[in-house]
């Protein structure tokens, strides 16, 4: 068990290092690091001093080391576009993205999993067939188009819900939340649906196909042959076995919600990290890009780690056996 965790942690660290390397290369070769750190209004003396401080006259690996040290402290320099430190900008925007992403994830799971289970158990019912057809449509609709259509119907034509922005927010210490105001909650609805719909359909299709696979296995057949009740077979055996692979894929999907939030934030002008990133890519604002990259990598790596651990807990086959447990 500990060996397993150790290996996974090691892998995570390697991935982070690789990402840091990519971000570092962005800094080094695509832009001028000194300028990026100081902004545009630095004097020549400042430049020389910083060049020496940053050790730009030093070998590659030393510079890389400094970069990592800085990154761990959250120092990514100053945004070229806005002129403020990147870490401050990111901190401002994280709450918006997180609230949106988590709402979308909850929507996707709470609707997607039961829908998938039902479609798997009763594949020929009209509910299942309709859901399957709609899911095909859901997978064919790009996220931004869903957002535009929702805006068209609910904001422009019906005027029920706001089309952009986050509404009124309440500051709780360093965090700002839109969940405590009516306008904040109303603003959350359309973006959540937009972001969550794609994931919802993916999860539903996944759970359905896994369920169908599991229901075809020999142990389900044997369970039927033993006369177990339908409820025991479907929920005790089939569902549990279905959820095991679903956990992995779902975990990864939820990680990608944070990335897809880029699109949703653009459509709804939601003031989150994703919008910041897009603006940075258009402007070639390297410090922001590099910082976003490292942050996203951290999120993904953490999610992957959690999913791996969860898998380990749920599936007894992955646990190391006590010695001497196999015998004739």
């Amino acid at each position: 068990m500990t060996a397993f965790i150790f290996r996974r942690l090691l892998q995570a660290i390697v991935v982070m290092l690789v990402v840091a390397f990519v971000a570092f290369s962005l800094f080094q070769y695509v832009g001028d690091p000194v300028q990026l750190m100081l902004g545009q209004f630095a004097t020549p003396q400042d430049r020389i001093r910083l060049t020496h401080e940053l050790g730009l006259d030093q070998p590659f690996y030393v510079q890389f080391f400094h970069f990592i040290v800085n990154a761990v402290h959250g120092q990514f320099g100053v945004s070229l576009r806005i002129g403020k430190p990147v870490s401050v900008l990111l901190a401002q925007r994280i709450p918006a993205t997180l609230e949106l992403s988590i709402s979308a994830a909850i929507l996707a799971l709470v609707v997607g999993i039961p829908a998938g289970v039902y479609s798997g158990l009763r594949p020929n019912s009209w509910v299942a067939r309709t859901a399957l057809s709609l899911s095909l449509l859901g997978v064919s609709l790009p996220t931004f188009l869903i957002g535009i259509l929702l805006i068209l119907v609910f904001a422009v034509k019906l005027g029920l819900l706001p089309a952009f922005g986050r509404g009124d927010v309440v500051a709780l210490g360093w965090w700002t939340t839109g969940l405590l105001t009516p306008s904040g909650l109303r603003s959350l609805i359309l973006p959540t649906i937009t972001l969550g719909l794609f994931q919802l359909t993916l999860i539903m299709r996944l759970v359905r196909s896994e369920m169908l696979e599991v229901l075809r296995t020999d142990y389900i057949k044997f369970a039927r042959a033993r006369g177990l009740r339908d409820r025991a077979i479907n929920f005790g055996h089939a569902l549990k076995n279905t959820l095991v692979p679903v956990i992995t894929i779902t975990g990864l999907q939820l990680g990608s919600i944070i990335a897809f939030s880029i699109i949703t934030e653009q459509v709804f002008q939601w003031p989150g990290m994703g919008l910041l990133f897009i603006q940075a890519v258009s402007y070639v604002d390297i410090p922001v890009m590099a910082a976003y990259l490292c942050l996203i990598a951290l999120v993904f790596v953490t999610i992957n780690l959690i999913v791996d651990l969860l898998y380990y807990v749920v599936d007894p086959r992955l646990r190391i056996d006590r010695p001497g447990s196999t015998s004739h």
């Binding site: 020999d218 369970a223 039927r224 042959a225 033993r226 006369g227 009740r229 025991a232 005790g236 004739h328």
Partner: protein
């Protein structure tokens, strides 16, 4: 050619040895079902068969038309009897077993005939009634023991679940029963291993667990579909011995489906030979093996190499079993038969009496 395996000579009864019959020995105290004892043959109503399959027909609608996978199959199993069903892959043996226990997978369906268990029809029972029959009155064992066990639950949990589904019992009592079952099937250190997961057992041990599960509610009939095929040869003998012992002790009848004639010879009382969805010969094991009547069975037995006799070549049956889409008219074996004559091509033979067995061959038709 055929993939039927030859029996071991030593397993056949010696001349003069009494035939094993289906009649029970005196009732045995039964840990599976305390307070009950097995009805003796006379109580069961003068040899009324436990299972009576009459003119069973199983069809598969496909895009190429309707295929008949099992065509007019009839046989009976007496209480406590072991009936072997042999045949090549695709002959219809597993489908017959699946139909009996009500697990025929769509689009396959029972298109004709009856399946009668203890005098009552079970072939088209509503779902919930059939569920009560399964496990409690008919049990099943399949080929792959690892695939038969849910990997996420301990074997104890799976046993307790099965026991409590059919018998009214508390959790603790069911656990005690489960422990007894594991000891009966020969799992060492059962008290410790009851909480282990399927992947922690070897193949032979797993099949023992499967047997325990199948017998947990003490059904009167077990359908064993290739129970030893997936096991090492050395383990096969152990499992067969175990199965035979348990079934003899608790009076459970067995429908043993296999392509291994050796297993049949050691374990079965009677044997039915299937070909292209029909039974071509059925009779007491020793007779069918020593003195086969149907040309197909003769060919099978003749293809067995013998230690004692010298032979130039092994007998081969020309050709192969026909596909379901191209079953010949009349007797389905006629294209491969070396004793074919005109009638075989046009009329399908029934099972005719031929000594102690019955064979579906015009050679044995009663003279008019």
């Amino acid at each position: 050619m055929t993939d039927i395996m030859p029996p071991h000579r030593s397993a056949l009864p010696l001349p003069g040895e009494e035939q094993r019959s289906g009649v029970m020995s005196p009732p045995h105290p039964n840990p599976f079902r305390p307070g009950e004892r097995e009805p003796s043959a006379s109580e069961a109503g003068e040899g009324r068969p436990l299972l009576d399959v009459r003119h069973l027909r199983i069809e598969f609608p496909t895009r190429r038309g309707v295929l008949t996978a099992v065509d007019d199959v009839s046989f009976a199993i007496a209480p406590g009897e072991v009936l072997g069903v042999v045949g090549e892959s695709g002959a219809g043996k597993s489908l017959t077993g699946a139909a009996i226990i009500g697990l025929l997978e769509p689009p396959g369906r029972i298109a004709g005939g009856e399946i009668v268990l203890d005098g009552a029809r079970i072939d088209h029972l509503p779902h919930d009634q059939m569920r009560r029959v399964r496990g409690r009155r008919i049990g099943a064992i399949f080929q792959d023991p690892l695939a038969s066990l849910d990997p996420l639950y301990s074997i104890g949990r799976q046993l307790i679940e099965t026991i409590r589904t059919h018998l009214p019992m508390s959790e603790a009592a069911a656990r005690t029963r489960a422990l007894e079952l594991l000891q009966e099937v020969g799992i060492p250190a059962a008290a410790r291993r009851i909480d282990h997961y399927p992947h922690q057992f070897s193949g032979g041990m797993r099949q023992r667990v499967v047997i325990a599960l199948a017998l947990a509610a003490n059904p009167r009939l077990i359908i064993a579909d290739e129970p030893t095929t997936a096991l090492d040869v050395s383990i096969q003998a152990q499992i067969i011995t175990l199965l035979r012992r348990l079934c003899r002790e608790y009076g459970t009848a067995v429908m043993l489906i296999t392509h291994d004639m050796g297993v049949i010879a050691e374990t079965a009382d009677r044997v039915a030979v299937m070909y292209a969805g029909r039974i071509v010969e059925i009779g007491p094991v020793a007779d069918v093996i020593r003195a086969p009547k149907h040309p197909y069975t003769i060919g099978l037995m003749g293809s067995i190499p013998s230690v004692t006799t010298d032979r130039e070549r092994l007998v081969q049956i020309e050709g192969s079993m026909p596909r379901l889409t191209a079953i010949p008219s009349g007797c389905p074996f006629h294209p491969r038969c070396n004793r074919v004559f005109d009638r075989c091509l046009h009329e399908r033979p029934e099972l005719f009496e031929a000594g102690t067995s019955r064979a579906a061959c015009w050679l044995h038709a009663p003279l008019p």
